[in-house]
Subunit: 132 residues, 2 copies
């Protein structure tokens, strides 16, 4: 039940704390860039620059920011090779790989219903017109 969060009742402090944490994590990953990064890393390990090229439209800043967040949450592992120029590689962890299956499903869904959605958009606006 991720829809619920915390209410201030002191008794169920543990339950509400878990709910609050669940919601926080959910909010972290229910984000465009994070999901696209997971999708991109699904193929295997990628360097920072490769990720940037793979994910169309992501900025340097957003990529860094989301990778930090995902590293903190243990979704990706960051490996720094102390060469020059530096080489930094990102890999999905086991939790990250598990989430990847879900993201794949979301991508499949998108392509599966692309036509329906386009049609729905066409109807929207012309649909609920006045009757008289």
């Amino acid at each position: 039940m991720v829809t619920k969060q915390f209410r201030g009742s002191p008794e169920d402090a543990d339950l509400t704390r878990a709910d609050s944490l669940a919601r926080e994590i959910f909010s972290d990953i229910a984000n465009k860039w994070a999901l696209l990064i997971i999708e991109a890393l699904g193929e295997g390990t990628l360097r920072f620059g490769e990720l940037r090229k793979e994910i169309d439209g992501i900025s340097h800043k957003m990529l860094t920011q989301n990778l930090r967040m995902m590293e903190r949450n243990g979704l990706v592992e960051r490996q720094v090779h102390p060469t020059v120029p530096p080489r930094v590689e990102y890999t999905l962890t086991e939790p990250g790989a598990a989430l990847r299956a879900t993201v794949d499903a979301m991508c499949d869904w998108t392509h599966r219903y692309l036509g329906d959605i386009e049609a729905s958009r066409g109807r929207f606006g012309s649909g609920p017109a006045a009757s008289g």
Copy 2:
């Protein structure tokens, strides 16, 4: 391949248009509130006010805004009962219900890895400390 979007090449106009649309839809639904609404409607039809109560922390405005977007994309159906006071009900469509399975998986994932993530967060910050 939702990670790719459109490049201005005139030849593959159709392909890039589809990619662009796919990314747009993906961005629409890869959003905290939209996913929580889908999750909430998974149980069955709910009124506006019920949704508001079900989804902790969502504001009147965000709920309206996301419901419009989801209606436009054909994820939810909106039924207005011309009573007084008005009664408006929201139900998942078939595409919406299909997406629900994915969102459920995301919620399951969240609870499944809650502990791991919390542990990872604890390590983060104290991990990459200087060696000397």
